[in-house]
Point group: C2
Chain length 476, copies 2
Amino acid sequence: MSEPAATRTLKRKLGSCVDTGAEARHAASFDGSKLAWTPDAVIQPRSEEDVATVLRHANRHRVPVTTRGAGSSLTGSASPVRGGWVLDLSGWRKLRVDRAAGMAYVQSGVRTGELQRAAARRGWFYPPDPSSKEFGTLGGNIACNAGGMRGGKYGVTRDYVLALRGVLPTGEIVSWSRDLRKYAAGYNMRDLWIGSEGTLGVITEAVLRLIPLPASRWTVLASFANETLALRTVKAILSARLIPSILEFLDRESVACAESATGESVFPGQAGRPVLLMELDGHPAAVRDERRRLLEIVQPRALAVREASDEKETEALWEVRRKCSGAMFELGDSKLNEDVVVPLRSQVKLMTFIRRLSRETGVPIATFGHAADGNFHVNIMYRRDDRDISTRALRALRALMRKVIELGGAISGEHGIGLAKTPFLTLEHGRAEIAAMRAVKQALDPNNILNPGKIFDVTEVWKKRPLKVRLPWDHK
Amino acid sequence: MSEPAATRTLKRKLGSCVDTGAEARHAASFDGSKLAWTPDAVIQPRSEEDVATVLRHANRHRVPVTTRGAGSSLTGSASPVRGGWVLDLSGWRKLRVDRAAGMAYVQSGVRTGELQRAAARRGWFYPPDPSSKEFGTLGGNIACNAGGMRGGKYGVTRDYVLALRGVLPTGEIVSWSRDLRKYAAGYNMRDLWIGSEGTLGVITEAVLRLIPLPASRWTVLASFANETLALRTVKAILSARLIPSILEFLDRESVACAESATGESVFPGQAGRPVLLMELDGHPAAVRDERRRLLEIVQPRALAVREASDEKETEALWEVRRKCSGAMFELGDSKLNEDVVVPLRSQVKLMTFIRRLSRETGVPIATFGHAADGNFHVNIMYRRDDRDISTRALRALRALMRKVIELGGAISGEHGIGLAKTPFLTLEHGRAEIAAMRAVKQALDPNNILNPGKIFDVTEVWKKRPLKVRLPWDHK
């Protein structure tokens, strides 16, 4: 294939930071979804002015531009589905923590875990905690409004973004808000960009809010006879206005997967039971009081309770949670990985539905997630080459999404729409709502160069075969 | 003046909820800014369908629609500057607190104080605390992203809005997000509406997030030799990662006004000294520890410290803060009331500048505000009929705004732009930024019917004479 004229022009302009080699183009052709479309070039800009140049040229020549951090998105939001150019900001890793003001100044390529450690060394805390944190970039976290386990108490990425700096499709550099804790001057474009998956502008820098690092933590694991009892316990805890910093739920399938992967049962004698994994944090006296109140609620409802008495035991408890996601590939070679949200009142109904759905379709479904904010990861497992089970898995997925909306929920809590959830967007949003969103897109990116094909255009991702590649963050 | 045809049509359609009487039109002609423009009609819709009808007709006939809650805005954001219709939602006061989920379901007309009390009765806390809270509505708070004294620790209105429901200029009813604690599905139109001052849609309902009510509070007042020492103490406190729930700063002019109004000095023997008024809240043991750490920082730097030992003393300390704003009218009959924000590193520089500005222009300036988030209320006082001092006051205002931007700040932290700050928007936002905001407005309200004339069009409010009316929330 000969090189498109626009790419040749860009190479002349920017030189070696524009890579049209096969290797670079392959590496940038897919993200964590492993769905690949080969771009014409990969650009590693050296400066904001380079980013501006790329966008100006792209806008003039109508070249799609997909911005990329680590590419750890699970929805295809960083896959260049319309080809064109990939703008790779993973090397933009400047990071500064302002110890007095409790703020971090980051470039888009800084890894979330890196920021957390830099903040912690100075006594500050950056709570958002997506499981991709050692790989994923803050730029990607902001573009997808990443969440994690601490959402119920601490919120998500959005809640920590004070200001963004970035580039419009015209190549103009803009700042949305400043390094200020309060702000009310003009439209809030900052929050419009957050979660817009790179479709409205390219984020180059951010100022993030930090909070004081909690002085103490306490971790406990509880096992339950069934999912209903576990989720009723969640409701009892939250209704008592106890907000654990982590309140993870794992259903029996998730636990069974983890046990099969580790070769050990979570509770001897209680194999394959659903669990809640909980953490309290804060002032030591507050944690002590809350521990007492929490155990008063949990103990009568649980089959067994295991408190972590030290760092090592805490680590052992977390191991359970970490193993479950990768271990699921024992149930199938392919996963329809959803991250739905339901209100507290609907959690039991959702799990009852999922268990029945799995029985009725004969498809294994393992569910775990962040019960304090109702964000559940529903993993529908199947074997891609088995046509029958693939069809049933897809039927289960569609039924799940309809049910989630019926229960007053949302189709995504933290992964975003990307490509993977595009078939379901209209379940959640009405015609007028989507028309308003598209009008905003049209207003801010009239030539539709920024990450085209995402969020609004329907792609049935299950029809496309994923690459057989192993990514750094793949489990097992 | 004969009634416009569009208004006649609307009256036929909606009947008695459309009021074209002189009294109603006068009452809706101004807000807390007291700048009046008489509308053609005031509509008190009975249902969301009525709101939709109003907007559909307005859109067809190009009639400006200004949505109004209590009208307590200080910037003119609820004044119908282009005439047309005022949509009065102050009667929409349905309120329900979900005790288990920790959420409140409110209609736009619910008063902020009402919600705070309803939440507190159930052990929950709604932290945003604008001083208008007994009058102002949550719809108005959301439209202007209201703040208050607790922003440094707890954030502002935006941080508590989970979902909005409302109506587009087309009359279509939309929901932005749901009663969920996590959400990542499509563009975040919710946060775009928040703070957009009624220019993008009409908010009819909201779901608000609540947090557990802190179990204990402690209040202290400290007096300082000068403003620099007081603000250096602020920096020392925040740098120690102590985040008071309230950290109010009052300069010597503000204190002098309060003392003159109450006839008592705040600290006997320390009259007219700047003060910090601080509150800690949380678990009793945490408050005890933080009290000790706070006093270790404050005592060596302060001239005098007064702790509140009971409710009555706490109330007496707050009285100082409450009196200062109204008492300022001893310094002039007119006020240019700004609510600028500066970063922590610039607080001392701002106050030094303001004191010099007051000396050089001969205009009294009293400054107080929320030091934990850098949001200062700068009150430039003058006598309207004294042409010379009016000119100097205006010169001081312009110099202040330029300085705030130079210090890395923002022209408004919580009041919004409305009419009053329109002359300064371009100081803060560049051409590309404002063009992007206007493109969003054009996309979502192509006929410019929603609160036209606000935010982007320059109005020099000081050229218009305010009404001589006394509003329920006026001091003294």
